[in-house]
């Protein structure tokens, strides 16, 4: 099953890599959102470090939303999804493959976004880069897992681009709150152990929703 999932993820990533339109637009979009934030605050009134965790997470939320919207849109062209469903692979491996491809996509955008964020807002991320990457990974896994499931549903509805954020944001906000709080602890130079509760909640959210999406995904594609 893992082998099939990996094949599927590879196919998606290869399509992505050959055209590069989606990843480039997502990166440019991230840079633009970061710029908008720079003009949306008063640098004399609010210190960058107070606002930094929110900026980081709002930017990543938007970027992830863009990535998730295209995950199943891709399969609608030329009925590619029907072809995929006819292939002798289990529904669950299709989900896993999509999840892996989305995670790689979002991680790439975040990997480019994080240094730019540190640069633009003069945030010292280098001393805390290990735990920070850990928090980002935990939160990203949770909402990409739910988002992959939901984008499989919304792709075949009438207002896919609008409906996905409306459905997904309520599920993104709790992990987002915990991630912002944990990031704030870290950027303020306090020990990570203070954020232990938030990290445990994030981990529990990941475990539950990855498992749930894995089990529920077949119900969204079976004919």
């Amino acid at each position: 099953m893992l082998r099939h999932a990996w094949r599927l993820a590879r196919k998606d990533l290869l399509v992505e890599f050959r055209s590069r339109t989606a990843i480039l637009s997502a990166v440019v979009f991230t840079v633009l959102v970061l710029m908008v934030f720079n003009f949306g605050r008063d640098p004399t009134a609010v210190a960058a470090v107070d606002l930094a965790p929110s900026i980081l997470w709002v930017t990543f939320t938007f970027a992830a939303m863009l990535a998730l919207n295209r995950a199943f849109q891709l399969e609608l062209e030329n009925q590619a999804l029907d072809g995929l469903l006819l292939a002798p692979v289990s529904r669950s491996s299709i989900y896993l493959g999509k999840l892996i491809a989305n995670l790689v996509f979002v991680a790439t955008v975040e990997g480019i976004g994080l240094p730019l964020f540190a640069l633009f807002f003069n945030v010292r991320v280098v001393p805390v880069h290990g735990p920070l990457v850990g928090i980002i990974a935990l939160a990203t896994l949770g909402f990409v897992a739910v988002g992959t499931l939901f984008s499989a549903m919304t792709a075949r509805t009438r207002f896919a681009e609008l409906l996905l954020p409306v459905l997904l944001l309520p599920f993104m906000i709790p992990p987002l709150i915990w991630a912002v709080l944990a990031t704030a602890t870290l950027l303020a130079g306090r020990p990570l152990s203070e954020a232990g509760g938030w990290l445990r909640l994030l981990a529990a959210f990941d475990i539950l929703f990855v498992a749930l999406a894995f089990v529920l995904f077949p119900a969204t594609v079976n004919e």
Partner: protein, 222 residues
């Protein structure tokens, strides 16, 4: 149709009992020492809140069974329950600020309990939007069930967060492990109000269920 008639009668009974709740709350319960008359809204706010969350759990449970049994009745029930849950949720979200203004000094605060109630409310609005956006009935039922189950699983996280944040909102005083910490007449009024809200909930859901059944019979392929 009989089911619709039954639903209407149950709703009428509930609506007739509602003034009795107001009378009991206004005249037969003591005035709370710290909050004064503003505390009276408690008798509407709490039963509505209990039924909002119960409606969401009912949607989730009906969704789980739907995915196993594929029984369209369960799907109709989930839809009805979600709609009525949203109506009760609007009651919670309107009575809350009316109570909050004199006591906390603000209509709204980004407190954990308030934020997450709003979040759950919006999630169920999304649930109905998803139902509206899918035209094929079989697909709609399955998509809605998937979302309903995910929504139910989000509720425990919401509750955990509420206990972890320091919050302005009072902690539970009735549904808690130890004995309820309020006078008997207040508890009796609350219980009575809860019964009335239950009757209303059952009446609304029955009517809504009957209506979606009628709609399906009128347009079987729509």
């Amino acid at each position: 149709m009989r089911l619709l008639q039954t639903g209407r009668w149950i709703t009428v009974i509930g609506l007739a009992l509602l003034p009795a709740v107001y009378v009991r709350a206004i005249s037969f319960t003591p005035v709370e020492r710290m909050q004064g008359a503003a505390q009276k809204i408690f008798y509407l706010h709490v039963p509505a809140a209990i039924w909002t969350e119960s409606a969401m759990v009912l949607v989730g449970v009906a969704s789980i069974f739907f995915l196993f049994l594929k029984d369209p009745r369960l799907d109709r029930f989930a839809e009805a329950s979600a709609e009525v849950g949203i109506v009760f949720g609007s009651i919670v979200l309107t009575t809350g600020p009316i109570w909050g203004k004199p006591i906390w000094g603000t209509w709204w605060t980004w407190d954990a309990r308030l934020t997450l109630t709003l979040l759950l409310f919006l999630m169920y609005v999304g649930y109905l939007l998803l139902r509206g956006a899918v035209t094929d009935p079989g697909l709609r039922a399955r998509y809605a069930a998937v979302l309903g189950i995910c929504g139910m699983c989000l509720v425990p996280f919401v509750h955990l967060s509420v206990y972890m944040f320091r919050t302005l909102h009072p902690q539970p005083i009735v549904l808690k492990p130890s004995a309820p910490s309020l006078p008997g007449s207040m508890l009796a009024t609350l219980a009575f109000s809860f019964v009335v809200f239950t009757v209303l909930f059952v009446g609304f859901v029955t009517q809504r269920y009957a209506l979606s059944l009628l709609r399906e019979q009128a347009a079987p392929h729509a």
